[in-house]
């Protein structure tokens, strides 16, 4: 497949602070690419460079066949950008905002209005169409923001943290919208701090940390890079805990929380075998949790620290 986004050796510093330290990206047409990283990793900076907002210090970028340095207007005509912070005109209504975009895309009066109304419908904003954007809730602003991005029918879309600050329902709506876009052949590069979001949406995930890509691959491939999952057993008291630990010698003991982490693939036979062994010695765990490896583990394994961003935000 031809590349929608191809970047090599992107570097950027602010003063003597190195923000991007040689980023290479390759995003095939019609796929979703997630740039995953904690606060300050350089996600927004990457999006700003790719979307012609700021210049990189070094590196080459080609988007939809246009060279970023030589033909920025070519790039601009192919892309749509929804930045991390809303880019609406608060003093216009939702509909007027969309028509403003349509006019700037030279769609003509009739087609512009038609497209604005279709987008209002699709993004569930019809009832608020005539209200000032300043009065919109966070979720509505996010939706209007994305709708404005779509007015020009871009082939490559950048979404910088499209779901940050949204409630679970709005997040799901946003995910569905992104899914539909990709089904229509659009290429999406999104950034996120949410591991499950990348897992859910992206064909390819790149983990960005301190301006460097520390890993890249599908969610499956990334998960394969971490040690297997485990079963967590919690016990009523220390006596029970120690009896169980005696029995399950490969388990990791956590005295403080009265838990045991037993390495396991989490499959049903493995689970049954474990419970049988416990039964035989009449040790009764109070609680049991099956933990299959997720991107949290990936992040931890790759960066050597827990995903602080996620902890801070959830």
């Amino acid at each position: 497949m031809p590349a929608a986004i191809k970047a090599t050796g992107l570097r950027k510093s602010y003063g003597d602070k190195l923000v991007l330290d040689g980023i290479d990206l390759y995003v095939p047409q019609g796929t979703v690419f997630a740039l995953l990283g904690p606060n300050g990793a350089g996600k927004t900076t990457t999006v700003q460079i790719l979307s012609t907002l700021i210049d990189a210090d070094a590196g080459q970028v080609e988007i939809a066949g246009h060279d970023l340095a030589e033909d920025p207007d070519g790039v601009r005509s192919a892309i749509g950008v929804t930045g991390q912070f809303s880019a609406l005109d608060d003093k216009l209504t939702g509909r007027e905002n969309l028509i403003l975009m349509a006019d700037l895309h030279h769609l003509g009066k009739i087609e512009g209005r038609r497209r604005a109304d279709a987008l209002l419908e699709r993004f569930d904003l019809r009832d608020a169409a005539g209200k000032l954007a300043a009065t919109y809730s966070g979720g509505m602003r996010r939706r209007l923001d994305l709708a404005m991005t779509l007015v020009g029918d871009p082939r490559v879309i950048f979404l910088d943290e499209p779901t940050t600050g949204l409630d679970p329902r709005s997040r799901r709506t946003m995910w569905k919208i992104i899914g539909d876009l990709v089904a229509g052949g659009v290429t999406v590069l999104l950034t996120t701090q949410y591991l499950d979001e990348a897992d859910r949406l992206a064909d390819q995930i790149a983990v960005l940390d301190h301006g460097r890509l520390v890993a890249q691959g599908s969610a499956q491939e990334l998960k394969r890079r971490v040690p297997g999952g485990h079963i967590r057993l919690r016990f009523a008291d220390a006596t029970e805990l120690h009896r169980a630990a005696h029995l399950l010698t490969d388990a990791v003991l956590d005295k403080e929380n009265l838990t045991l982490r037993v390495p396991s693939d989490g499959s049903l036979p493995a689970l049954r075998a474990l419970l049988d062994r416990l039964d035989a010695t009449a040790v009764q765990p109070e609680e049991l949790q099956v933990h299959t490896p997720d991107l949290d583990d990936v992040f931890f394994a790759l960066t050597g620290r827990p995903d602080t961003a996620k902890e801070a935000l959830r």
Partner: protein, 260 residues
């Protein structure tokens, strides 16, 4: 469409956006006329008697003397609105959206300049109407009125480009609202409120050579029939200079990468 017609159509779109803002918040547009009208009332009714004697006449004659300065004050107030509106645009998120679109870069600024010309001319008409109601009696004929409008457009155009530059330059809309303040008060330190001849030497020198004085003299000449001399030419030169400085400053700052 060619690049030029794209630029024109984008500027028209931006202009429509600005006019929509102005119509949606009419109080903001009206407030441009507010300060000049307060000054007009204050100077005519509180100081007008004394100042009228000072120019060898009455309160009514002082009103006639004062109006050109008040008109310029209105134009300067209008430029303050422009600076704030531009600053809001370049500091808020929407500018980033415009910058990632294949639109003519200058269109945002052009839209502001033309929009300000329209709203400021409207405010000026309001202030002149108010002055007429108070008893302002110009003896200008149709030709002089047309020339007056021409001069006003010229000054407004120049100050608006300067205001656009200040708006792009300001770190925030708050600071943008302070930057043009000296412009608003400048007519007072010129021939706007009292003849420069009544000022002490140093101040008088400044008052006679500052850009607003020839403009005021030109307007006064057109409206009241006082001698214009070379004020018209000097005004045109000042306006061309100010417009050029504002234009170049605004463009270079605006085209520079976002320095946030």
């Amino acid at each position: 469409m060619s690049a030029l017609s794209h630029a024109a159509s984008d500027s028209a779109t931006m202009l429509r956006r600005n006019l929509r803002h102005a119509l949606r918040y009419p109080s903001l547009t009206l407030s441009v006329a507010g300060l000049p009208i307060i000054f007009l009332l204050l100077f005519v009714y509180v100081f007008g008697g004394a100042l009228g004697t000072g120019i060898g006449g009455s309160r009514a004659q002082y009103l006639d003397y004062l109006v050109p300065g008040i008109i310029l004050m209105t134009v300067a107030s209008g430029s303050l609105m422009t600076a704030v509106a531009v600053s809001v645009d370049v500091t808020e998120g929407i500018i980033d959206r415009f910058r990632t679109m294949a639109i003519s870069r200058a269109s945002l600024l052009t839209g502001h300049v033309i929009g300000s010309l329209i709203t400021t001319m409207f405010s000026t008409a309001l202030v002149i109407g108010f002055a007429l109601a108070l008893g302002f009696r110009p003896d200008a004929g149709p030709v002089e009125w047309i020339a007056t409008i021409g001069v006003l457009l010229m000054v407004t155009f120049a100050l608006t480009w300067l205001a656009v530059a200040l708006g792009v330059f300001a770190k925030s809309p708050e600071s943008a609202s302070n930057l043009p303040l000296p412009l608003q008060l400048l007519p007072m330190i010129g021939s706007g409120f009292v003849p420069t001849g009544s000022m002490p030497a140093g101040l008088r020198w400044f008052a006679e050579y500052q850009p607003f004085t020839p403009v005021i003299e030109t307007l006064r000449g057109l409206l009241m029939g006082t001698p214009i001399g070379h004020s018209a030419v000097t005004s045109a030169a000042w306006c061309a200079g100010i417009a050029l400085v504002g234009y170049v400053w605004a463009k270079t700052r605006f085209n520079r990468n976002r320095a946030r």
